[in-house]
């Protein structure tokens, strides 16, 4: 690959949906700045490039690598290690790489449970209960498909990560800002944050950016959003009994969902320094339950129909427990 002296940029997706790539394309005109300031050496979704060239690159020769997607199989991990080796700055980009995201909910189930749901579905004709096999003999020889880990992992659970950029996907204006910062830093006009920092997000939580009115919190009843006759457009959703993850979710998105009348679902992950996102949300919500009577508290809690789904929607693989027992034990007990 021609070396035009420009700093090299790479973006890779592991177990992801591609939304991060779209979010990067959505920085619109800024994409031209990237083109102007970087030599894009590697970006599967947008361009062709030769894998052997990446392998051939000297260590640390890629200036900036945005890595999105979780680590679902050994192939993902292999590339994570390769890009770590080749990159000066490796950014865990987006919810999947930082927290595990929605696909991380797979950590609630065993592999067989996942297979059964897919290959014994109502529309599937599979009388012999055929399952995909890691190695399978065909007339012409043997075919391989990568086996996947029983537990999905985040990027920093397999390699050392320089920065974290949360969001599902990261908001384009945040991406643009980070691109600006890195470009400035390259020209010695700005300081890069300390290693391990979270970039492209604020210090506080979504409520900080939310325009809704809030009062002293007391919750007597949790309701589900589609059951609400009319959602008050001004008032804090939580105060309307709607389970909103805003209070525990890192700011950075601009409180988009609450502004659109929908509850925050937590895609920006935990606030600065929080060890376990779900715990923060649990403790906050429980604390404002307006009752001291165990029975009444329990009946109020019945309004939270799916605690794990609500508290660990995006962060299960990065939580303290990381996965539920069936995933760890792979269904074997």
């Amino acid at each position: 690959m021609s070396d035009n002296g420009k700093p090299k940029f790479a973006m890779y997706w592991a177990a992801s949906c591609g939304g991060c790539e779209i979010a990067v394309l959505n920085i619109n005109e800024k994409i031209l700045d990237v083109d102007a300031n970087f030599e894009v050496v590697f970006w599967p979704v947008a361009m062709d490039a030769k894998y052997k060239d990446v392998e051939a690159m000297p260590d640390k020769s890629i200036t900036l690598t945005l890595f999105n997607g979780g680590i679902r199989n050994e192939e993902n991990e292999h590339l994570a290690r390769l890009l770590r080796q080749k990159s000066q700055i490796l950014v865990a980009f987006g919810s999947c790489a930082t927290e595990g995201c929605i696909p991380g909910l797979a950590n609630l189930s065993s592999t067989e449970q996942i297979f059964a749901a897919a290959y014994d579905s109502v529309s599937t004709v599979n009388p012999d209960g055929v399952r995909p096999e890691y190695a399978y003999d065909i007339p012409e020889g043997e075919l391989y498909i990568p086996a996947f880990y029983p537990v999905l992992k985040t990027l920093d659970q397999v390699v050392d990560v320089d920065y974290y950029m949360p969001g599902c996907p990261p908001e384009s204006h945040q991406i643009a800002a980070v691109v600006d910062l890195v470009i400035k830093a390259l020209h010695g006009e700005a300081e890069l944050p300390p290693k391990g920092a979270t970039i492209g997000a604020g210090m506080s939580t979504v409520c900080d950016e939310c325009g809704r009115k809030r009062h002293v919190k007391k919750v007597k009843k949790f309701v589900r959003i589609h059951e609400v006759e009319e959602i008050d457009p001004e008032l804090c959703l939580l105060e309307q009994g709607i389970l909103c993850n805003g209070p525990a979710t890192r700011e950075g998105c601009g409180a988009l969902c609450p502004s659109a009348g929908a509850a925050c679902i937590g895609c920006y992950g935990p606030a600065q320094g929080a060890l376990d996102y779900g715990a923060r949300l649990m403790t906050a919500l429980a604390s404002v339950i307006d009752s001291n009577d165990p029975e009444e508290i329990d009946s109020i809690l019945d309004g939270i129909v799916d605690p794990v789904g609500s508290f660990y929607r995006f962060s299960l693989p990065h939580s303290l427990l990381r996965a539920a027992k069936p995933a760890w034990t792979n269904g074997s007990r």
Partner: protein, 682 residues
């Protein structure tokens, strides 16, 4: 964010670990030498540079050991493994401080109360001791140097309640030369004691001993008396409370009133006095509860005053020689600044009507102890005559029922303390004044304390009869001619082991003591706690009975639980002493365990706003952030645990400290082979 490791950038902390033998108390079960050796060898990576074991760490020699190491080895952290922090935390903190180390960089972990004294298996105990020490080491690394909080003390004191306990407290402080505000709900101070005639066991007259005290309160230059008043609101914190008092209008100008008494002598409106005379005596619409009332000024009861009811009369106004009657007087709001508060709001009496089978309110000659007290009082409705409801005939036989509403799972489980003795007093007075036959129905006789049992002997000597057993019923349904026209007391005599029906002319119910009806509101108002029943909770039942969990607020007398007069007086004095020591120090030091909001991280979600019972959390609407007032904060950490943004941090018990301690404690989770989860590829 990893909780362990250490925050000290320029390298590891230098930690000293000291394992105490406590003679054989610890060493007898825990292999202390092994623990020390292990700490040095295994915890070296964490920064342990020295680990010693010693016979008595708390001895001066033990403390010197630590001090020398701090100086010579330049220790930056100290862990002592010995007894409970509640015993010696201060000891070792002081030792550290003497050696120039911030006291809060030392940690005392308990391997005595929590290990050697409760476990027998030496191997397991030693292993647990190591885990506990590891927890202490991981924790102490996260400790931060702290300074105790200094709070100045305002020299004035508020005493709430003008009963004997409040009076005692007020006088002690005032005599020491400090300002006291005494707030009393009724028109006069004196409380229940003022209603009595005699007091047990000495039988000296209540008025004779109480009145002088009341008078000196009234006249004391350092005491500002606010009767007919109630505390409305309490704000601020120890050393600096600001109290709002609502002063109801007396309709009497106390500047002009001389207390001559013409007004109440001439008042045409007579009403039953439900309060002081407990319904068996009368008062006028303008009145003082009793002759020796302090202050001497009367109040006008607008509910019954003819003028207030239909605009006519004004007799008192016309006849008052000094023109002190002021019908247009209005209620006053008084604002007080005080440094400490003593609550002595006393008790209520159990309502005998709640036990229908005793017939009070239905059977004319069933009396309550309160009614009997008034009846015996020379200044009472019967001029001290013991008579039946008709007001003339004297009883030939009297039954006194103990434990009415007390020691009864249907009402109150507790013992009301005073009933046995006052029942004995009643028995004596009945005998003395009527010569009637007297029965005492008791469950157990409780005559502890000086001269009490002697009094019991004496009353027995006077021929009073004692029946051991809980009275089942008092009835006028007669079964034999002998019972005609009498009250029959149905009781199981547990000594004779048989049912007895004892006919008497008069029955006296020794009703128990209960918390004030509004005790819970009062507790909330002052930010203190009370038991489910309503008795205010003391800071420590034995070692700190007159303090509360809330700094600067003390309690005295029956507000804390049933008490007799001597104990109430003692508590009044004790509370005063606690307050005086603070006033003379001028400031107090508070443990710097406080919560703090990081404004940059606070999202203004207001989750925490409702969580502080001490109202220490303020929300700034303009900045949309919450803030914590350190003087109000008591350091419970509830808001720290609740903050979804992790914006609130708590000194002394930070997340890092607790999480690290957990890691330390779990270092020995896998003494035996860990159970591996099966991890097969898909």
């Amino acid at each position: 964010m990893s909780a362990n490791g250490n925050k000290n950038e320029e390298g590891k902390e230098r930690i000293g670990v000291y394992v105490c033998h406590c003679g054989s108390n610890i060493a007898g079960v825990v292999d202390v030498k092994d623990v020390a050796v292990w700490a040095k060898e295994e915890m070296g990576d964490e920064g342990v540079v020295v680990a010693r074991d010693y016979k008595f760490m708390c001895s001066s020699l033990g403390q010197e050991l630590i001090e020398n190491d701090i100086k010579e080895l330049g220790l930056t952290r100290v862990v002592v493994a010995a007894c409970s922090p509640h015993l010696h935390e201060q000891t070792f903190r002081t030792a550290a401080e003497r050696a120039g180390l911030n006291p809060y960089l030392s940690e005392l972990v308990s391997i005595r109360e929590q290990v050697s004294w409760v476990h027998t298996d030496k191997v397991k105990a030693t292993e647990k001791a190591k885990a506990v020490v590891a927890g202490g080491i991981e924790r102490v690394i996260q400790n931060e140097p702290l300074e105790p909080l200094r709070v100045p003390i305002h020299p004035a004191t508020l005493v709430v309640g003008g009963g004997i306990a409040g009076i005692q407290a007020a006088l002690e402080i005032a005599d020491a030369g400090h300002k006291v505000y005494l707030v009393e709900r009724e028109p006069s101070i004196g409380g229940h004691m003022a209603q009595f005639d005699k007091t047990f066991p000495t039988l000296d007259c209540a008025a004779c001993i109480l009145t002088p005290r009341m008078v000196s309160v009234g006249e004391h230059p350092n005491i500002e008396l606010l009767t007919w008043s109630e505390v409305e609101r309490v704000e601020g914190y120890v050393g600096n409370f600001s109290v709002t008092v609502r002063k109801r209008p007396r309709y009497v100008d106390t500047e002009l009133c001389t207390g001559c008494g013409i007004c109440w002598e001439k008042c045409p409106k007579k009403v039953i006095d439900e309060v002081f005379e407990v319904g068996i005596g009368y008062r006028t619409a303008v009145y003082t509860p009793f002759p020796q009332a302090v202050p001497k000024y009367p109040v006008i009861d607008t509910e019954t005053c003819i003028y207030f009811q239909n605009g006519k009369c004004k007799a008192c106004e016309k006849l008052c020689p000094t023109g002190a009657i002021k019908f247009d007087q209005e209620e006053e709001i008084v604002l007080l600044e005080v440094g400490n508060i003593i609550i002595a709001t006393g008790f209520d009496l159990f309502d005998a009507r709640r036990i229908p089978e005793y017939g009070y309110g239905r059977l004319a000659n069933v009396f309550t102890s309160a009614e009997f007290e008034r009846m015996c009082n020379a200044a009472g409705p019967t001029d001290g005559e013991v008579v039946m409801r008709d007001g003339v005939s004297k009883p030939a036989s009297v039954g006194i029922v103990h434990c009415v509403g007390s020691r009864d799972r249907n009402y109150n489980n507790y013992c009301s303390v005073i009933c046995c003795m006052s029942s004995l007093k009643f028995a004596h007075l009945v005998k003395e004044r009527t010569g009637a036959e007297v029965y005492n129905f008791y469950i157990d006789m409780r005559t502890a304390y000086k001269d009490y049992d002697e009094f019991y002997q004496r009353v027995m000597g006077e021929g009073v009869l004692f029946v051991r057993g809980r009275v089942a019923e008092i009835t006028d349904a007669t079964r034999s001619p002998g019972e005609e026209g009498k009250l029959v007391i149905q009781v199981e005599d547990t000594l004779a082991g048989r049912q007895r029906r004892i006919p008497v002319d008069m029955a006296i119910l020794a009703v128990g003591l209960e918390p004030r009806a509004d005790a819970k509101e009062v507790a909330k108002k002052f930010g203190i706690s009370c038991s489910a029943a309503g008795w205010i909770t003391e800071k420590h039942p034995k070692l700190d009975p007159v303090a509360t969990m809330t700094e600067g607020i003390f309690i005295a007398g029956a507000v804390q639980g049933p008490k007799d007069i001597p104990t109430s007086v003692a508590q009044g004095a004790a509370a005063a002493a606690r307050v005086l020591s603070r006033i003379s120090r001028g400031e107090i030091y508070l443990e710097p365990i406080r919560a703090t909001v990081n404004a940059e991280m606070c999202s203004g979600c207001r989750i925490c706003n409702n969580l502080c019972p001490f109202n220490a959390i303020i929300f700034h609407e303009d900045l949309m952030v919450s803030e914590i007032n350190h003087a109000l904060c008591q350091g419970c950490g509830t808001c720290v645990a609740a903050c979804p943004a992790g914006a609130i941090s708590g000194t002394g018990f930070s997340n890092e400290q607790v999480l690290s301690q957990i890691e330390g404690l779990l270092e020995f989770s896998f003494a035996e082979e860990p159970v591996l989860m099966e991890m097969t590829p898909a």
